[in-house]
Each structure stands twice: as structure tokens, then as C-alpha cells.
Amino acid sequence: MSVDWATIENAIHAWIANATGIAAARVLWAEQGIERPSAGPWVSLRFLDFRSSGIDWSTNRDADEPTPGAEVVTTLNGTRVAHLSIQCFAGAATGANRAVAILDRAMMALASPLQKSRFAAARIGIGAVGSIQPISAPINSVIFEPRASWELDLLLAAEATQTGTNIASVGVTGVLPTGDATDPATEVVAFVVPPEESTPKVAGFWPRNAAQMRAAAAESGDWAFAWNFDNARTDGWVSTTPAEFGGDAGLLYDPGGVLYRVPGFFEGDFAVEFTRDAMTGFGPADNGLFDLYADTSIAFMAAARFTPTASDEGFILGKGVQTVCGYDLTIAPSGAISLLAKSEFSIPAVIATVDANHYDNAPHIVLAIVDRAAQTLQLFTDLGASPAMDITQIGSMAVNTLVWSVGTSFDLPMESPPMQLSYLAVATGDVSRLRANGAAAVASLRRWIGL
């Protein structure tokens, strides 16, 4: 439905009948093949013109009672201008009931609060109001009939609704091993690849969303593995094949050396650089360096299996450093995993912790999210999520890039267990969406890895 014609017609008819004092049965809509009422004044109503007063618009909302394929309700709105002609026939030639006077009573009623409320209920507004003109004429060339005509614009609301879906695609990705369809470990979580949402730092170099990451990496898989720095395995649970190495990150392999590289932000710099040994998993003997932006949102994933030993004192899983500010991803001796964000002078600092024991020899997914738009720092793992920590006090980390280090690199005394690291998103909207769906994202990542 666009304009609610029945309601509008009824409201207009009631207005004319009440204001003019002419019986309702003698106020008629034209173009119905009507016969003239018996002797006495009567009124004809007719819409002469109908147009839009501007460009219509639409809004979306979640359906109150969604059904498959109809989860979203789209409302279309617009304003319309209807030009109404009102003609009074057979009024008196003089006095209070002359045709012009009858229509003038309708004009006067427009100022009535009661009439205004009736029009408001019918979603009718008053636009340009024309003059009342006498148009008296003879009938059958022998009878002179006093008549008057009045035209005015009415502003009407047009509205229509339709249902739609926000499911981009549905696919079968596996067979449930058991009858438990709600098992989160096997649950398939659908994500929508978001559109480009942010301005790239340097076009052509630094991907700004999952699609660009995937394109840069020539990755044929899902966005969740947008840009793997390492697709290695050392303990059998992260899949690896030579083909995956070659197609994984679009890496530039220096055949004469031992480094894999991806161009980075600065001339001659590399966003990714790590040793060939690291291809089999970052560990104490390997290292990798990645450029990170500290002043923008970023989401990345670490995947590792933490094996408890008597000497475990915790690891620095990765460290992004620029002078003294940056991020530290650590696992504590208790098995709690934390992401620390430090300001330019290290104080203040904010830490987000998933306080669960990850030293259980089971593979874990760690989703680290720095959402600069929402000013939150948050961690998600398959064992839980940290609170969303406010990093407003960190302020703008006035640096261009950090170098994210994994393994023994730089001059940092740190160790990392064999692990896999991936950029998931750097676009503001992507990061925000991942944070809002953190638990589901972890489940999806585990699914893709095959856990």
C-alpha cells in the first residue's frame, strides 16, 4: 500500500459534510458515473493531480517475528501532494447558502482544532490553498445554476513495507558427527563479508578489509583466514600443505635467503617478514616481524596449543612495540591470556584478560580486537571472553606503525610456542563487527581450522 486512500477519502468527505452542513449523501466523489442528487445544493469532490514532493526514502528494522527469508522489514516512505477540486452545485444565488459561502465554510473549518486533529489522524496536511471561484452556468441551456469551485493541495503520507533477508548465503559445510545440532564446536556461523568501509592507509599496499586481504593473499578460503602470516603446523592440528604455503599470504619469497615478505607501509619496508623456519610454526628458534598500526582498529588471531610443563612461566605470544607504546599478547603461568595496550609512555596501560587456563594441551583460538572507534580492547578465546576494556585513556598512539614480533626477534627476550597468526581485519567496520560477534567468530575460526 502506498497512500491509504480509503482513510483519506473518508476524512475529506467528513470534513466537507460537517463544515458545509450539506447531507453526507449529497457530498459525492466524482468520476463514479453519478446521477445528480435531487434538487438542492450538493458537492462534488475530485482529485485533479497527484505527485511526489521529493525523493522517497526507506528504513530497515528487524522483523518482530522473523521467519526464514523475512528477517528484515523495509519501510518505504514518501510524501505526496494531491490537488483536490471541490465543486458546489445548486447553491443559492445570494445569501448564506450561495455556493461560494458554502465552500467558504469548509475553508474556515481548516482552522478548527477538531478538524486539524481529524486530518492529523488521517495523515493529511494542508498545502497551498486556492481561491473559491463562482462558476455558475446554465443547465440544459435553460436553467441557471449557481455553482462555485475551490481547489487546494493536500499533503499525504505514502508508506509501504516489504520483508527481506539479511542472509547472504547458506551452504552445507559438513555433517554433524553426532545428533547434537547445538554443539558449538560444530556449529557453522555465517558471516557477511563487509563492504569497504575505511580509507586505506596507502592504496595498493595495506589491505583495509577482508576482501582486499584475501585478494592480496590470493587466498581461496574464507575471509577468516584473510591474511595468514603462518599456516604452519608442528603438532599436527593446523593443516599445512605446500600448496597452502604458496597460496597463503602472497608472500615474496627470497629464494636466496631465508625470508618471506609482504610489502609494507614504508618504502622498502615489509608488512610481514619472517624466516622460512617460521613456516613450520613460530617458536623459540624462529621469528617474525609484522607491521601493525597502533592508531587504528585491528583484529588478529593467534592459534596455538599450550602444553603444560613444569617450567612454564608464561609466554609472550607477540609484542608490538614502537618506542615504549604498543601491545603485548601474553599467556600467564595460570593459563590466562591477556592483551596489554600501552600508551606512548607506557602509563596508563589497559589489559584485557580471559581468565581461564589455556595450558591444557588443547588447541586454542585467541581473537584479539583493538576497536579504536568504540575505544575498547577485548579478547575472545574458545574458553571465554574478556570484558571490553575502555582504552580511551590510552589516547591516540601517535605512531605510524608498530612492529609486531613473534618468536625470538629484535632484542626482546621472549619466547613463543608454536603458533599461527593471522590478520583478520583492519577496516573499522570489520573490526567492530568482529567484536560484536566475537564468540561466534571464534567458533567459526575453529570450524575452519577443523577443530
Binding site: E9, H13, A24
Partner: protein
């Protein structure tokens, strides 16, 4: 011989006429059509002449007109009678003329085909 007898002698057939009663309104200015009823007439129906065409209202245009002679009163505007000819509806145009002469009264009406195939 009266015109009535002439019509009876020269009739082209018996025809069914549909008549619509006066309409009412729904209280909001919309017409509620009146009920319809039917009756049969004897009539002479022949092509309209050029003179008949000149009697049509201003701007009246139709592709098929005929002239009806019957002793039964027919009604025109605003609720014109409809006459079925070979299964097709023909509607009275304007106001039929009613003549009384030679001891009888008859009706002359122009009818127009309502649906042109």
C-alpha cells in the same frame, strides 16, 4: 394502423432489457450501485441514420450505433437501460424519445454497443 401495431408486425425480435435501480451512497461519498432487474421487449432495431447521429451529445463517439423502436418505455441517463443483442450489451444513449400518436405510445432510442471487440 398504430405505430404499436407496426412495431409488432415488423419487430426484429424479442430482447432482454436490464434496468438499474437508483443508487445510494456508503456515507463517505462513494456510490453503491442499485440493484438490477430484467424484462423483455418487442422491438425493431435497425442501423442509426445520419440524422440520428446528429442528435448525439457533443463529443459523443462510438463505433456502433443502432436505433430502437419499442412500445415499452426505455430509460436513458443517468441510469441507462442495457439491451442484449445476440449476447452483447447495448446501452441507451442520451434520453429516449417517447411519442404518442395514432392511439398508441412508443419509444425511440439510440443504443450504443458497450464493448467493441
Amino acid at each position: 394502423m398504430s405505430v404499436a401495431l407496426t412495431i409488432a408486425a415488423l419487430k426484429t425480435g424479442d430482447y432482454t432489457v436490464t434496468r438499474t435501480a437508483a443508487s445510494s451512497t456508503d456515507g463517505h461519498g462513494r456510490i453503491v450501485p442499485g440493484a438490477t432487474s430484467t424484462f423483455s421487449i418487442e422491438a425493431v432495431i435497425e442501423p442509426a441514420t445520419e440524422r440520428d447521429l446528429r442528435l448525439l451529445p457533443e463529443a459523443m463517439h462510438t463505433q456502433d450505433l443502432r436505433l430502437v423502436f419499442t412500445v415499452t418505455e426505455l430509460r436513458g441517463e443517468p441510469r441507462p437501460d442495457s439491451i442484449a443483442i445476440d449476447g452483447e450489451a447495448w446501452q441507451v444513449v442520451g434520453r429516449p424519445q417517447r411519442w404518442t400518436a395514432f392511439g398508441a405510445t412508443h419509444t425511440e432510442a439510440i443504443i450504443a454497443r458497450t464493448v467493441i471487440p
